[in-house]
Amino acid sequence: MSTHPLGNSGPRAALHGWLLLLPAAVLLAAFTHYPAVATFWHSLFSTPRPNRPAVFIGAEHYRDLLADPIFWTALNNNLIFAAGTILPSIALALVMALWVNERIAGRGLLRLAYFTPTVLPMIAVANIWLFFYTPDYGLFDQVRGLFGLPAHNWLGSTETALGAIIVVAVWKEAGFFMIFYLAALQQIPPELREAARLEGASRWQAFWKVTFPLLMPTTLFVLINAIINAFRLIDHIFVMTRGGPDNASSLLLYYIYEVGFRFWDQGYAAALTMVLLAILAVVALFKFFWLERKVHYQ
């Protein structure tokens, strides 16, 4: 921070600074920091029931967690979900942005097309995806039928349910990320790429040598968002599979919802939330201590 002290330092400035911060700080503390700490605290207590108040049980919830096959399935699914959504959605977003950044026929309409998923409520669109996946007369199977392929129960079989959920998430995210890439692309002076072309680089090389490195800050931003979304996007599961079949499409946050608000086992739900927080903490550390150094800023 190389700010010059220009009348905004000193005790009076400190007071003003703190006053300006106060409202946001209070709310952040109340709904982000306090709950993070409280989650840990509550994860050490049993869930209170009408005849049994909460008692301190130490790490018992965590021991249960290690022995809980559904937790492991959900965690495993979530890692697959992350792997399956992060890269494809970023790659697609970039490709989309490159396309609509150029003079392509119907550019405005294309931008709109790519962006629609952001505008449509997931909870409602999930029903439409449910139709796409319906065996036999669903859209996918109708298209497959044209090629003589048999019907498939996409959401109802253990092997494909998670994949089906991933596709919907990629669809939802890519267009949103595209906007960020598009904004970044438009700030790259076209002369740069042209210079590269003049030096004999192909379009492909020009992209990798010139454009892509310049997009690195955007890629980092989008990457972090994609990682967070991988642990956050669960609305469609409520409609499409409810985590089934046999937890094949259950993700961590969905399992937390089930345990916390269907089984009312809030102590155990707190322990599960801690796992989620731990994963995100690792992501944050990774970002600050590794990625930051890899990215070139001006």
């Binding site: 010059h4 002290p5 920091h33 396309w99 392509i104 409520p121 967070i228 916390g260 809030q266 739900a269």
Partner: protein, 298 residues
């Protein structure tokens, strides 16, 4: 997230990267085949991305038996909209969602502006620590703290209110971060001039910083509104009644029926629910993208 924003005012003057020479001539045009393939690819993806919306439009305007059959001459009808409209109190849901989105956005803008100003232009002890604490929320989003936040909201006696749905989101790290980046690019000389004219801290903020950050506000507003218009899980948890439920939670009613899914009515309901956002995006598409560019979100 640490993407340095470009000065909106100095956008034209200062390209974001080191210049690699200044080529004057135009680069060779891409081959027509290449161009043709790109257009084809872009549109194929565009159609896939639009498919759910196209399907919703098809299904919503045709009788239920055509929701799985695409006969070009199928009769048109508005019955599905009537059925959907009667099946849920849409006007009330719209009102609730609008109130929710407006509350969150207003809160985010005000609190974000104040905090961002403090971070960008004030020097006081503890500033950087607090800023780091703010950034924590970029990782640990309120969506993941449902269990503890429900406890808090309940303790505050706010269950089933618009405030309950809004409070965890009002202090937004993303908003604070974005505005801070923008504010930092505004020349200090402008602030000094305003101070000399007798403006106080808030006066400077209001007269100098806020007007110059307009594109950032607009871009941020788009992200915030589209996110909260479609948010589902938290409102589901903290609302009980039609008087507070936003449209997403209301839509879930169509999904969870005993009698099976009626895609015609669901599609109509989806279109009704996302209509306002879709129309807004259609109308302001250009401005949205422009504001993203000028806000330097990338």
């Amino acid at each position: 997230m640490n993407t340095p924003a470009n000065p909106p005012a100095a956008l034209a003057a200062q390209p974001p990267t080191e210049r690699a020479g200044t080529p004057a001539r135009h680069a060779a045009r891409p081959l027509p085949v290449d161009r043709w393939l790109n257009t084809l690819g872009a549109w194929t993806l565009g159609i896939i991305w639009l498919a759910p919306l196209l399907y919703a439009i098809w299904t919503a305007f045709h009788p239920a038996e055509f929701s799985t059959r695409f006969a070009p001459l199928a009769p048109l009808t508005l019955d599905n909209f009537r059925a959907a409209w009667e099946a849920a109190p849409f006007p009330r849901y719209f009102l609730n969602t609008s109130a929710l989105v407006a509350t969150i956005l207003a809160g985010q803008l005000v609190l974000g502006t104040l905090a961002a100003y403090a971070f960008a232009r004030f020097e006081f002890p503890g500033r950087d620590v607090v800023f780091a604490l703010v950034l924590v929320q970029l990782m640990i989003m309120p969506d993941m703290m449902i269990v503890e936040n429900y406890r808090s909201i309940h303790a505050l006696g706010l269950v089933d209110t618009v405030s309950a749905m809004a409070l965890p989101y009002i202090a937004s790290a993303f908003g604070i971060f974005l505005l801070r980046q923008t504010f930092k690019t505004i020349p200090r000389e402008l602030e000094e001039a305003a101070r000399i004219e007798g403006c106080g801290t808030l006066g400077v903020l209001w007269r100098v910083y806020v007007p110059l950050a307009k594109p950032t506000y607009l871009a941020y507003a788009l992200v915030s509104v589209s996110h909260h218009w479609n948010n589902f899980l938290w409102p589901l948890i903290v609302t009980n009644t039609v008087n507070t439920r936003p449209i997403t939670v209301g839509l879930a009613v169509f999904a969870g029926t005993d009698q099976g899914i009626d895609w015609a009515v669901i599609s109509a309901a989806t279109l009704l629910a996302s209509g306002p956002l879709l129309v807004a995006f259609l109308l302001f598409q250009r401005q949205f993208v422009q504001s993203f560019l000028r806000a330097g979100i990338r």
